[in-house]
Symmetry: C2
Subunit: 415 residues, 2 copies
Amino acid sequence: MPLAVVNCSQLVTLAGPARPRVGAEMRELSIIADGAMLVSDGTVERVGARREIEALMSGDCEVVDAGGRVVLPGFVDAHAHPVFAGTRVDEYELRALGATYQEIAASGGGIRSTVRRTRAATEDELVASCRRYSEWFLRTGTTTVEAKSGYGLSLEDELKILRAIRRLDSETQLNYVPSFLGAHDVPEEYRARREAYVALLIEEMLPRVAEEKLAEYCDVFCEEKVFTTDESWRILSEARCHGLGLRVHADQLSLSGGAQLAAELHAQTADHLEHTDAAGINALKEAGVQPVLLPGSVYALGHTRYPAAREMIEAGLAVVLATDFNPGSSPTPSMPIVLSLASTHLRMTPAEALTAATVNAAYSLGRGDSIGSLETGKRADFVIHDCADWREVAYFFGLEHARATYVAGRPVTLK
Amino acid sequence: MPLAVVNCSQLVTLAGPARPRVGAEMRELSIIADGAMLVSDGTVERVGARREIEALMSGDCEVVDAGGRVVLPGFVDAHAHPVFAGTRVDEYELRALGATYQEIAASGGGIRSTVRRTRAATEDELVASCRRYSEWFLRTGTTTVEAKSGYGLSLEDELKILRAIRRLDSETQLNYVPSFLGAHDVPEEYRARREAYVALLIEEMLPRVAEEKLAEYCDVFCEEKVFTTDESWRILSEARCHGLGLRVHADQLSLSGGAQLAAELHAQTADHLEHTDAAGINALKEAGVQPVLLPGSVYALGHTRYPAAREMIEAGLAVVLATDFNPGSSPTPSMPIVLSLASTHLRMTPAEALTAATVNAAYSLGRGDSIGSLETGKRADFVIHDCADWREVAYFFGLEHARATYVAGRPVTLK
């Protein structure tokens, strides 16, 4: 049955050129005051002023009254690690008392503890426990999430996580875009022979992941003490040969050459970039790589060095914002709190932040033609937020303003 | 009808000595695993292990099954400005682009714009618009909030705000503790003759507020460019003569002597304290003043200088955390996001933060005997949070984990 969404104080469409938005374009949201939208077959048929849409409404149309609230496209979260077992709430306590993320990792905590627990969980257990996070994403207004593996670090465990992602995609209303991140860390058992782990990644894991079509992207944690730029280059080059798109964890904890590497490889994205310098920004610009900024992890680690978002926007980069949802450095699935961080600590305007969290994020996942804005022909992923001014979604922070989330025109049912 | 709350994975009681908690006491939460609670006449009758409570349950008892979730006392938010008209979402945009709070204020924005709008609103309009914020407090697990006036800055407008607070207290389930903050700023029309405004505060406003019993506390914004320590001393001394308790906005933007003043006056609290030095901390300790820390405003202003919480705890101060909810510098009513900020940026442990947000906050409002912990004889203000480990309430940040809020044993009904 066709759907008409009416009585939106602001229908924020993000309509615009069919490509990632840069510079001043990031501040153009194409907002329709007192707007309405027609949806059929799960797809946006038309957006417009209320009268215009009312004139087109047929008798059998189901009407969704937004009640004078704001309607936004569903957020697209382009960097997340949403499949893991256990939490790391214990470390939260240690960090509160001053231990650094690196100190905790060196003492066997950190990612290694999540790897131990994730390896011990079955695929069914992972799917069951991670449904909770699916609900959180949907509840806070996100309709598509990129999902990285990377807490398995063995062939079978990485496959298990990617299969869990596939099941979560089909069994929940949240849409998942799978990325293979076998190069998230060098696992314990390979510490003394890291070269053998790189070989395992290249010779066994990547071919298998590609063969089973379990991932669209390959990501590598490129950082001095994790994977060097040389190792990262080898892994990502191989991934490309298997038809995977490329994403890179770059320059998070130090200026280790990740942004330069992403540029050399013409990766789809370079993510984090807290320590990227002007040369790195230029390199990304020249190569057309999208930066994915993750202020949630800067915040949650208690750091104060945020990525240079303004410089990136002024350089003409098509900036993306994402949660980095994970149990260690960014335990939040909330795009609204990321938008808040962007405006309070990254000096992005609310409009730039929203563009980065929707349409630009969609392009960074190769889905710019189908999601990220409310335009004719795109999937009807939209969210009614309980405010009269869309900027309140981030301004009144720490709240869940989403009142109803729709995926492909269907309301999301939460427990 | 008596109430039994059962099946709590953790019943976090905060039971302990009948006074504010200091030092290591702040890390003792008296958690009952698989706990239960009996409530009668809106009051906690008994807490204990499930079996112990089940043995005491009578036949006519209404049972609330917490479903294996966490139960915490309702948060007590000891510093908020929850009655105002309009928002300041426009300034949020200016600040994102680099304007400082002081620059915005100097150009006629900031608090003055909220004063203009609040003066233009009727008492009925204020009550109607601020019910939304009442819901937000309750929805995020807060059951008592301190509420300051201070956006009126004229006799009639300050009285109007305090009457609106009284009505919100009686017409919603949230409990309000009113504070008179006529000395929030020098209003426009008194800029050239600030002495006359201080006289108005002392000679007309305070006597009238006291006579109508509209406030329990008097607060002053003591800051170089707002009210000097001398002016603050005169206003607060007069307030004491009228039987009001004293609170002080101290050392927020500079080391202006506010903490020392609060100590000299033996105020109940000194609030903010971002710039307080070791001498100020010692003075607060000697005088038994409770510090109220407001990391939400540091965050939302994009600042990085947080108050020295660890030093205060180590000095033996009974630290309190609060939201500072207001439309300019801290647009959040969420105590969970404040707990998150405390652990990520104030280096408080989760347990210290929870103590600061409940029982210590209750003492700072003169209500330590009736709220802030779940102990026999206290009001049954409690919240079921949807987690199995209470620390997740702050760890998974940006979410609303509260599933059900009870005030005096009655479930809160939200729109």
